[in-house]
């Protein structure tokens, strides 16, 4: 990763963290505030329902008052005090009274707590009504209703033919004589009751009728009857059942947080009516009969939060973009000299010693740039000097080789011409014979000179490789075929091949490659005048193909190895010093490498590495 990117990331991360911290802080504060407001709203709604509950209780009380004051009730009470009450006549009266007062429940109970008439369960006549029977047991006169039911309305579990239900009840006494006739009336606490409540927008009310010892989802009611998804509310209700205290919980209906609701659970308790026989020893206690659940949707809160988050993300995003742009500018400004230095260093590494860095400041970076420029200038001068020295040395070597190569044929030429002159002068009779021999020698040496010049000319005219898919093993076989006759005739050199199977084809010029390999083989043959073993090996490596040509000759010294590929350098008496130079030139033109390993008296191995892919 570049220095500029690091700087950029550092700046961006710093800005992001700052934005995130600020956004989180704002979000947390706002969320806390809204949740507080939401709780207060739920509490207000719950308080409103408590008032509504009390109002409904008062309303039930008024209806029961009216029922107690009705003509029917007064007549039954009068008959009862006269001892002329007829159960068969009064058994249906409670239903009539309930219909008149629009009450769901109404029972007429005598002073002993015996039901004379029941609207909700007509067949219940003659059974005890616990709410009154308890009082009858406590007070021998049987005229005082239990304290729990004297004032206002109270909740009571009411048994019905099809099961128990919950009701809001009130008790009133019709006093015509000594014995009061109690009227116990009430309204059903179910979905019908819920539907009459005034519900603020965004809220809803559920009622759990705690009529079962265990959690029963069918007892959770909304306006339309049994409420769906009761199992999610069950823990809240269980908490209220355990603690008998109000509780609050957030219910997540779906994965969307906006669908969640805050439920405020209000326990609805009613008196426990002990049997008359137990009333003396038991004070009236309260039992949990229902749980009113006021649900408030969190959608407005969540949507507001989402709006805030969206705004924060937008602002944060813009901030990040601005920060990135600023970081880009700043990083570019800071890193430009460093980048220039890096680019210049790359150029130097690639051999361009003319790379120059602009010195734009006088700080450490400016000093570094100036030092770099001085260093490249020094290097350039040193390279130039080295090149000149090498060029001079090469020319000297060339001159030496040329002198050496040309001197050898020139000496026979000189001797032959001198022989011809001497024969012309001293022995004209054999001049013709000498002339014939002399001209043959002259022609042979001239041919030799032309060959020497041709080889030099050939080296100077090395063609560029014409690449095509080439199998290196085929090239090796071709070379060996060329030398096969020579190997058979001399019979002193054993040839061994270790060519890899399934060697990949490489992009190469097979003719040039063959010439390079011929030079190596020829060099190996020359290195083993007493015979030996020539080994050609090929193998495929990951990115290149390797060719090894080994001999078991006398080997080379380290100094010889280092100069081996220098043109015109040779260790042989009659070599031109161009064979290995040509081989190196071919391999280099193919983007490969050639190297030599040699051990004195053991042999020499030339290693060619040719890339499988074309090199730029």
């Amino acid at each position: 990763m570049s220095f500029r990117k690091k700087l950029l990331l550092l700046f961006a991360a710093t800005v992001l963290i700052c934005v995130a911290v600020i956004s989180a802080s704002v979000y947390s504060t706002i969320r806390h505030s809204f949740e507080q407001a939401d709780r207060e709203r739920a509490n207000a709604v719950a308080a409103q329902f408590r008032l509504e509950f009390q109002r409904r209780g008062s309303e039930v009380g008024r209806k029961v008052d009216a029922a107690a004051a009705s003509e029917i009730t007064q007549r039954i009470a009068l008959d009862m005090n006269r001892g002329a009450a007829s159960p068969s006549d009064s058994v249906g009266e409670a239903r009539i009274l309930a219909g008149q007062q629009q009450l769901d429940f109404l029972e007429l109970v005598d002073s002993r707590g015996v039901i004379l008439s029941s609207a909700q369960w007509q067949a219940k006549f003659g059974y005890s009504e616990a709410a009154i029977a308890e009082a009858a047991g406590v007070s021998s006169g049987g005229v005082t209703p239990p304290p729990a039911v004297q004032a206002g309305a109270f909740l009571k579990r009411e048994e019905l033919p099809n099961g128990a239900t919950l009701g809001l009840f009130a008790v009133r006494a019709a006093r015509v004589g000594d014995q009061p006739l109690y009227v116990i009336g009430g309204e059903r606490l179910d979905q019908g009751f819920l539907s009459t409540l005034e519900i603020p927008a965004g809220t809803r009310v559920l009622l759990y009728q705690n009529l079962d010892t265990k959690w029963n989802p069918n007892l959770l009611l909304d306006l339309n009857g049994p409420a769906a998804g009761g199992d999610k509310i069950a823990p809240l209700i269980a908490k209220v059942r355990d603690t008998l205290q109000e509780s609050q919980s957030v219910i997540h209906w779906t994965s969307d947080a906006a669908d969640a609701e805050v439920f405020h659970a209000i326990p609805l308790s009613g008196p426990i009516f002990a049997a008359a026989s137990e009333a003396n020893s038991t004070n009236a206690k309260q039992q949990l009969l229902g749980v009113l659940l006021v649900g408030s949707s969190r959608r407005p809160l969540i949507e507001l939060q989402r709006q805030i988050i969206s705004t924060a993300l937008l602002v944060g995003g813009l901030g990040v973009i601005v920060a990135v742009l600023a970081s880009l500018w700043f990083a570019a400004r800071v890193t430009r000299p460093v980048v220039s230095l890096a680019e210049a260093a790359h150029r130097v590494a690639a051999g361009d010693l003319s790379a120059h860095v602009e010195v734009e400041s006088s700080d450490e970076l400016g000093e570094l740039a100036a030092s770099f420029n001085r260093m490249t200038a020094d290097l350039s001068q040193q390279k130039e000097r080295t090149l000149q020295a090498e060029r001079v040395a090469a020319w000297r070597e060339l001159a030496r080789r040329l002198a050496h190569e040309l001197k050898n044929p020139l000496f026979p030429l000189q001797v032959t011409v001198e022989n011809l002159v001497r024969a012309r002068q001293k022995s004209p009779e054999i001049f013709d014979e000498v002339f014939q021999e002399g001209t043959a020698t002259l022609l042979a040496e001239i041919t030799n000179l032309k060959n020497i010049i041709g080889r030099f000319s050939e080296f100077s005219r090395m063609p560029q490789p014409q690449r095509r898919p080439t199998q290196v093993n085929d090239v090796a076989h071709s070379v060996l075929r060329i030398f096969s006759a020579q190997f058979r005739e001399q019979n002193r050199i054993a040839v061994r091949t270790e060519l890899a199977d399934a060697l990949p084809e490489i992009p190469a010029d097979p003719d040039l490659l063959q010439r390079a390999l011929q030079n190596l083989v020829l060099n190996a043959i020359d290195a083993m005048p007493q015979g030996g073993e020539l080994t050609i090996r090929t193998r495929g490596l990951r990115d290149y193909v390797e060719i090894l040509v080994s001999d078991t000759g006398s080997g080379l010294t380290e100094e010889e190895c280092s100069r081996l590929f220098t043109p015109y350098y040779t260790t042989k008496q009659h070599g031109t010093g161009l064979g290995l130079a040509i081989a190196q030139s071919v391999v280099s033109d193919h983007g490969g490498k050639i190297s030599v390993e040699s051990t004195k008296e053991k042999g020499t191995t030339f290693r060619i590495e040719l890339p499988c892919e074309p090199q730029a």
Binding site: P87, S88, Q122, A123, K124, F125, P161
Partner: protein, 456 residues
């Protein structure tokens, strides 16, 4: 005896009657519902006659047959047919058509006619043949070939018939009992007790049905200027467990029987009418019903269920019975006291049914057989009228508590103030002169015949 002009019987007028049942045919065999039995019995007894009738003590009385005799084994009976009796179509009610009608009704009998009598023979002994012949199903009818209306020998003949709605009867001028005082009887069918009471109060009906009433002396409030008549208890209200009931455990059925407190139901819901019962036959018929205890025994019931968890039971009732629902709910309430959950329901598969069975005969053997048939109990073995045998038979039938008798109930009817000499028989019958202590419908007369819709 000197009678004033107002109290002297006179002819004329139309008697307007209302009934709950709504038959589509005037055929008892097509309408087997016990709830409709008395409506049919009363209606058909106006049109036709049986060979014999039974009085309240179960003694046979002559009707179409004047005399009879039997052999020692009660397999061969000979009845002398009353002379001069005619069917409503004018044909003679001679032994031949009567034998043909009875033979068609009872395939197992061999019925032969002679000049003045018929003989009835069977491979099995028929000691209760007279009680059988006195049943409504053995009224001697022919059928009108056009209308299929019954053509009998009774005091009234069919003048018009709208199935399920209205039956118009005209006085039979040639009735062997003598012409009835009223000219016609119009019976409106399919009227609920409430509609009947309303029509009665508005003066649109002269005779209506009523819920069972308390016997004389008990507080009751009959309609003003009306005459309420209750019969002896001739119906049995009972709980019956069908074969597919979930109450397969006899202990559960016994616990339910022991949980029912009959007294409050009788005093409040039945308004004092009827008698709590634990036997199939009423006490007036056998005299031993006190041997079957009607008292609840909750501890015993709870003990029976101590090591069992009884299934919830569904109790069904006849919706046409106005008292049935409350009685069923009370039974459910009683059952809850001993830990049995009973759900009262009108429809669906039931485990126990609240049903009425008709006791159509004052003969206890015949009544027991008929009650057993209606309640799905096996027929008791042929019995003589030994009380011991009867008790044993009844005791055997009630073992296993597949039937829990609850009440023996009377049937009641109310006649308006213009209906004179209205006194149905103690079994609630309307037209069986001589069989009961009271007067038959044919003997009543209307104080203001012109107010009748069909007065001539």
């Amino acid at each position: 005896m000197i009678a004033s002009a107002e109290t002297r019987p006179h002819y004329g007028g139309t008697l307007r009657v209302m009934m709950q049942s709504a038959p589509n045919t005037l055929d008892l065999a097509s309408n087997p519902s016990p709830a409709d039995y008395w409506d049919f019995a009363r209606t058909l007894s106006l049109i036709g006659d049986t060979l014999v009738t039974l009085d309240a003590q179960g003694r046979p009385q002559p009707a179409l047959a004047e005399t009879w005799q039997r052999d020692a084994g009660a397999r061969h009976w000979q009845f002398t047919i009353r002379r001069g009796v005619k069917f409503h179509d004018g044909s003679a009610a001679s032994p031949a058509p009567i034998a043909q009608i009875l033979g068609a009704l009872h395939a197992s009998w061999t019925v032969r006619a002679t000049a003045d009598s018929i003989s009835i023979e069977s491979d099995a002994a028929m000691p209760a043949l007279l009680a059988e012949l006195a049943l409504t199903r053995n009224i001697i009818f022919k059928r009108n070939t056009n209308t299929n209306a019954p053509v009998g020998t009774g005091p009234f003949l069919v003048a018009g018939w709208q199935p399920g709605k209205l039956l118009k009867l005209a006085a039979n001028e040639e009735s062997w009992r003598g012409r009835p005082f009223v000219n016609a009887v119009e019976i409106e069918f399919g009227k609920s007790l409430r509609d009947q009471a309303l029509a009665f109060e508005l003066g649109k009906a002269d005779v209506i049905e009523a819920a069972p009433q308390a016997p004389t002396g008990a507080p009751q409030r009959p309609p003003t200027s009306s005459s309420l008549s209750s019969s002896l208890p001739v119906e049995l209200l009972a709980l019956v467990f069908p074969a597919n009931s979930r109450a397969q455990d006899p202990r559960l059925r016994e616990a339910l029987a022991l949980s029912v407190d009959r007294q409050p139901i009788q005093s409040v819901l039945l308004k004092g009418a009827g008698e709590p019962a634990a036997s199939l036959l009423p006490n007036w018929m056998t005299g031993y019903s006190a041997l079957f205890s009607t008292s609840p025994n909750l501890p015993r019931a709870r003990a029976l269920l101590a090591d069992a968890s009884p299934p919830a039971l569904t109790l069904s009732y006849d919706p046409r019975d106005p008292q049935a629902q409350l009685i069923a709910e009370r039974i459910a309430l009683n059952a809850r006291e001993v830990g049995i959950t009973v759900q009262v329901s009108l429809s669906g598969a039931d485990d126990v049914r609240l049903v009425r069975a008709v006791l159509p005969s004052s003969d206890p053997v015949m009544a027991l057989g008929e009650a057993s048939r209606q309640l799905g109990l096996p027929q008791p073995p042929l019995l003589e009228k030994s009380l011991d045998d009867l008790y044993q038979a009844e005791h055997t039938l009630l073992e296993g508590y597949l039937v829990i008798p609850l009440f023996h109930l009377p049937v009641a009817s109310v006649a308006g103030s213009r209906v004179q000499d209205w006194e149905p028989g103690p079994l609630g019958d309307w037209s069986e002169p001589g069989s009961s202590a009271g007067n038959a419908l044919g003997d009543i007369w209307l104080a203001d015949p012109r107010s009748g819709a069909a007065s001539p």
